[in-house]
Each structure stands twice: as C-alpha cells, then as structure tokens.
C-alpha cells in the first residue's frame, strides 16, 4: 500500500481558506481544497492539503496574508 505524505493546513474560517487558496494558486504551489479530516474536527469545515515537500514554501508565501491555525499530518492511501 503506497503512502503519500501530505500536510493539511487549517484556517480560522472558510473565507481564510479562500484567501489561502488564491495565494497558493497565484504562486503555483500545488494544493487541494479538501474537507477537514474527521479525526481533526467534526464540523463541516474545509482545509488545504499540500505535499509535505511544499509545506515550507506554502507557509512562507502565506505568512502575513492569512493566518494558519494549525498544520497536521495526513496520510492517504
């Protein structure tokens, strides 16, 4: 079973996710908007998934533009 190492970035609001999405898109950082994994929160939220390798650049680019609430490991098969 192959494991792909990815990180999820959680934000304060859906609007914040949309800001982050736009920033990442403009800078060509590969990302995906996904529902917040159930083990992190049971509310109907969305978050941003990035490849673990892109995490640092994503964080740098987002700094000062939108506040990242938390970052979590995510392994999907």
């Amino acid at each position: 079973m192959s494991r792909v190492f990815r990180k999820v970035l959680l934000f304060e609001s859906v609007s914040a996710v949309l800001v982050a999405e736009k920033v990442l898109k403009d800078r060509d950082i590969p990302y995906k908007l996904i529902p917040v994994p159930k083990h992190l929160s049971s509310d109907c939220g969305v978050c941003i998934r990035v490849n673990a390798l892109d995490l640092r650049s994503a964080e740098e680019i987002l700094t000062g533009k939108v506040k990242v609430l938390s970052i979590h490991e995510l392994s999907e098969t």
Partner: protein, 194 residues
C-alpha cells in the same frame, strides 16, 4: 466450494471493487484482507447487499466468509438493500443555491469525499454547469478520475458540453445523451441529487 479473493496488500478501494464484482456471480465467497479499512469496507458492502458475513482472524489477516445462507432473514430484519444502481446527479458546478463561491468550495469538498465514500455510486450524471467539473482546467479532475478508475460510470450531458463549447475539453467521463441520462435515472435504485 467458495470462491476466494486474495485482497491482501491491495489499496482501498480495490478490495471492495473486487468483492462487489465477485458477488455479482458468486453466492459463496472468501475474501482475505490484511488491512482494517479494507476489512470494514468489505464487510459493510456484503451486509448492505444482504449477505451473511463471518470473520476469522489469522494473525494480521482476516478471512471474511460471505454467503447467501440466511440472507433472506437478514433482509427481513430491515437491512437496506437498494435494488438497482446508485446514481449521483450533479446539476451544477456549485453545491447548493445562493452563494456561488461557497457552492464551489462545497462541490470540491463533496467530490473529494465521494472518492472515499462507501458505497461508491455506480453512475454519476453531470449536466448543465455540472459538466464544467469534468473538463480541462477543472480543479476536481483528480477526484473524478479516481472515481472513474474505481469503476464509477461518469456521464456528461452532450447538449450541455455543446452549449458551453466544451465538448473537445472533456477529460473525464463519456459524452452522453438525454436517452441514456433519463434511462439511467429511471433504472436507478437510488438517486442522490446534488
């Protein structure tokens, strides 16, 4: 003699797909799994289809015996066994009415969830602006592709693609027509309309 599927080491949803396919032609089946998610998903599939399930742990592996014996009793107890295929109808590129930006977010979220859902739909029908989800540049192509790879039949309304001049840009699914779309809907066991 039970038919045996060795699903050890296979990634989800492969064990479920193999089991579902085998149950179309076999009433007595043994599925070997070595993964908790595969174990649960295969078990749920069999129960939802009205089969009786017995499990046997052998080290890190589980041997799941699926058969029809007593299945009628089980169905009579109220197991949900939809007759006919599950069809998801997507009539727009946004989920819900009111605020399109939010609707776009919800649609991305929904389609991603669908790739991990169980049971997976048998068919998805995209029409009106829903076809825009399956064309070049769509942000949900990867999710639609993984659904298609898992065996979901994706139909995109040809009239709609034509209206938006997107026929050449269709990446996932097949160009369909209203005859197929209406027949698929009428023949569905369950329709989920988004």
């Amino acid at each position: 003699m039970a038919y045996t599927i060795d699903a050890r080491g296979l990634a989800c949803p492969q064990p479920v797909i193999l089991t579902r396919k085998a149950l179309e032609t076999n009433d007595d089946l043994i599925v070997l799994v070595d993964d908790t998610a595969a174990h649960e998903n295969v078990k749920r599939l069999a129960i939802n289809m009205g089969f009786v399930v017995e499990e046997e742990q052998q080290g890190g592996e589980t041997r799941i015996r699926i058969n029809k014996v007593g299945a009628c009793t089980h169905a009579a107890q109220g197991a949900i066994t939809p007759q006919g295929p599950v069809v998801v109808v997507i009539a727009s590129d946004t989920m819900g009415r009111g605020e399109d930006v939010l609707g776009g977010v919800l649609m991305k979220s929904f389609l991603h969830t669908l790739t991990q859902a169980f049971p997976m739909p048998d068919t998805m029908i995209l029409f009106n602006t829903g076809v825009k989800l399956a064309v070049k540049g769509s942000e949900v192509l990867d999710d639609l592709e993984s659904l298609a790879n898992a065996g979901v039949n994706i139909l995109a309304c040809g009239t709609c693609l034509n209206y938006f001049s997107l026929k050449e840009n269709l990446i996932v699914g097949v160009v369909s027509n209203m005859y197929d779309i209406s027949q698929t809907m009428l023949g569905a066991g369950r329709i989920v309309h988004i």
